[in-house]
Symmetry: C2
């Protein structure tokens, strides 16, 4: 990624702000657009972004790399509303947690611009640019999910973006594998945490709990606006994952009620072996 | 707890060994019995326990405080086999993760000895005295679950035991509240982690996962011999918790399939509020 590239963050929230902060620290020129002028002011005052003297339209016209960090559907709408201002051959990426539902739609909207979808697998429980922290990327995966319409050069630029942000691992996979995986590893686990908290009145248990329960339910604290959109945009995969998981829980309950200790041990040996593969090497 | 008390650990594994290590560091006199002579040798060689020159029967006769750290049913059987050697007024405790199924049975076996049930809510993924580490207690809860047959003095002794081991929080609750709570906070969460790992072939996802999934499934690596016994000894409560959780997951799936975004947000707001109560203060 050349030093004189002009980078535009659209949506200066937690993730957009953390991108801007990390890139500015590396010496890149980063501007931002946000519907909330206080977020822009905070970004400028804290050296997260540079101040731009001019209209948003002029800023878009000068930008070489645009990073969409709005909610998924808002990204699509922003492109519709602003593509007439795009610089020729601008490269655009996003930070969305779902891909199939938006990638084709965005790519079909563009002619002299290229959209390379990507997903930084990082976050915090807090939102807003005030909580921006580029250190959240240091132990995280960065997934690039290109399609046949993407060029090698643009994919390489997004890879360099991820390297500049110091993601620990960068992977290139298809949008459909991305959504299948996220539907299980991330979305199903969030539905589990939500349902676990909602399945029992737990207030009288607060003083007695251990760290396992805290770990497992940390993600039950969830941004309902973002996640309800993500879930619905990946509805079929997520619903299928919920079905398969419920079936597995039901089998376990039957084994328990029958006191079928051998089958129970088999389930535990299987989960132990599968989980070991996920240990960090 | 007076300095000249003689403490006997029955079952020198991970938890028994960690008790022994922590108590020896504080200057207490700790002995152990284990069916595996190598565990005793390791304990003596590493200053975790003192060497006893004599028979196990003689050792039991001299012990003022006995800590049972075998599996739950083995604890009951050990008492049956050895109670004729107990010193008059010996105090006995255990480390078992279930209570109702064993507490009455043990207390009814004893005449000139007192059993104060307790549960250190700590552990590691590894087992055996070689992995003993008394630091696992520093952030952990210690639950004492006495019955009407217990004396204030014996409960106080077990409280002092937990203080000597530097547990961060000591609570006194009934055996039935203990089992209700453990059936949800610990056992249900383990069944969830086991079922999540078993519900999908995940090998192709290993390189892409984030820390949330790792946190949530860490407990899917499980000792099948211990946990199958714990689950069956708390069967009715655990089966009821599984039912309620499956019902909640099914409701969420219906909301998702119907794209009922308002109901979905309500579920997320509710889980967020409930989970916030569990944040450490």
């Amino acid at each position: 990624m050349s030093d004189d590239i002009k980078i535009l963050i659209v949506g200066l929230g937690l993730i957009g702000g953390s991108y801007a902060q990390g890139l500015s620290k590396k010496g890149y020129t980063v501007y931002a657009i946000d519907k909330n002028p206080n977020s822009i002011k905070y970004g400028v005052d804290n050296n997260i972004i540079k101040e731009f003297n001019g209209s948003n339209n002029d800023l878009i016209k000068e930008s070489d790399l645009i990073i969409l960090s709005l909610y998924p559907k808002d990204n699509v709408n922003w492109i519709k509303d602003n593509k007439q201002f795009f610089k020729e051959n601008v490269v655009i990426t996003d930070v969305s947690g779902i891909k199939v539902a938006i990638v084709d739609e965005i790519q079909q909207l563009l002619d002299n611009a290229e959209f390379v979808p990507s997903h930084p697998m990082a976050g915090r429980e807090k939102s807003g640019v005030e909580n921006a922290d580029y250190n959240i990327f240091k132990d995280a995966n960065f997934l690039i999910t290109p399609t046949e319409s993407n060029t090698k050069e643009a994919i390489l630029l997004i890879k360099e973006l991820a390297e500049a942000l110091e993601f620990s691992n960068i992977e290139i996979i298809s949008p459909s594998l991305h959504d299948e995986m996220i539907g299980y590893l991330s979305q199903l686990t969030h539905v589990i945490a939500i349902s676990l908290m909602n399945s029992k009145d737990t207030e009288h248990m607060i003083r007695y709990t251990g760290d396992s329960f805290r770990d497992l339910t940390r993600i039950a604290k969830i941004n309902e606006n973002l996640w309800s959109e993500l879930f619905i945009l990946n509805k079929d995969i997520l619903a299928d994952n919920i079905d398969k998981f419920i079936l597995e829980m039901s089998k376990f309950k039957e084994i328990l009620v029958n006191e079928d200790i051998n089958e129970m041990k088999k389930k535990m040996i299987s989960s132990t072996e599968r989980r070991k593969l996920f240990d960090k090497r």
